[in-house]
Amino acid sequence: MHITEGFLPPLHAAAWTAVSLPFVAVSVYRVNRLMREKPEIKLLLAASGAFAFVISALKLPSVTGSCSHATGTGLGAILFGPSVMALLGTIVLAFQAMLLAHGGITTLGANVFSMAIVGPWVAYVVLRAAQGLQAPLAFSVFLAAMLGDWATYLTTAGQLALAFSDPISGVAGSFLKFAGVFAPTQLPLAVVEGLLTVVIVNFLREYSSDELRNLRFLPKTLVSEVRL
């Protein structure tokens, strides 16, 4: 989902940066307030960021004979709400753009939008919906992280399609083309991300009940099931 440096026309790069900026600004405010009001959750916040850090560094092989990576932003969105992840995801993407020549500065806004905004929001909405339908918690978390991962890659496909429409079939045609590059490879990787996210949430329910009870974004089921 990393659009490489310079691979979005200037106008698109500027537009995506403008779209992402307010989300990141709100995120900075939220993270600051969270750390001031509940200093005891700082460590859990760092751990959620670390999860995205490690999981987005690992390029995993897929059934298509290509490689890709998971995003790891679903976990934080489930624990802290989606807006907090915009900042953590931006840190990950900026690290990769500046030190690893992966992604880019001009494309940072677009990449932040797909990985740090759309992914977390989809994960959060899916979790809420699944919980509303009384799905088991582990399954809801799995579904949320998996669909958040997919949504990120489909967003990237959409961003590229808008910038480079197919001369014959237009934006829709090129969207299918870009989605065809990302989606099949991402299919099993998103499942792996879903499974790993459930593993971490299982651990937290066992050992971090004190911190979970402090998070107002959490679905009630996550807290009430915590063993005291």
Partner: protein, 101 residues
């Protein structure tokens, strides 16, 4: 929790292994990154497009692999610290309550 997580982790590993097996049987499977493939697709859709900005700094390939490892290590380190810390905390609480504190 422990047994369930072991199963989930085993399932995740099995998924990755199966993906490699299925993927490597494909013709021309090189396990290239999809990011690179998408940029190649840009070149076929708009052959005239020239990236207008280049990386400010690009690490040499060997250094890049080290930096990727550093990213994973930093993430795994912090995550592992947290998980170990919480587990130890719980065990400490248990010991104290056993001793009647």
């Amino acid at each position: 929790m422990k047994a369930r997580n072991s199963w989930l982790l085993a399932l995740a590993v099995a998924f990755i292994l199966a993906s490699v097996l299925v993927g490597s049987r494909r013709e021309g499977a090189e396990f290239a990154g999809t990011d690179g493939q998408a940029m190649a697709a840009v070149a076929t859709l708009s052959p005239d497009y020239q990236p207008w900005f280049d990386f400010i700094w690009e690490p040499p390939p060997e250094v890049a692999s080290g930096l990727f490892a550093l990213q994973a290590a930093l993430g795994a380190g912090v995550l592992g610290y947290y998980l170990g810390f919480k587990r130890g905390q719980r065990q400490g609480q248990r010991k104290r309550s056993d001793a009647g504190d």
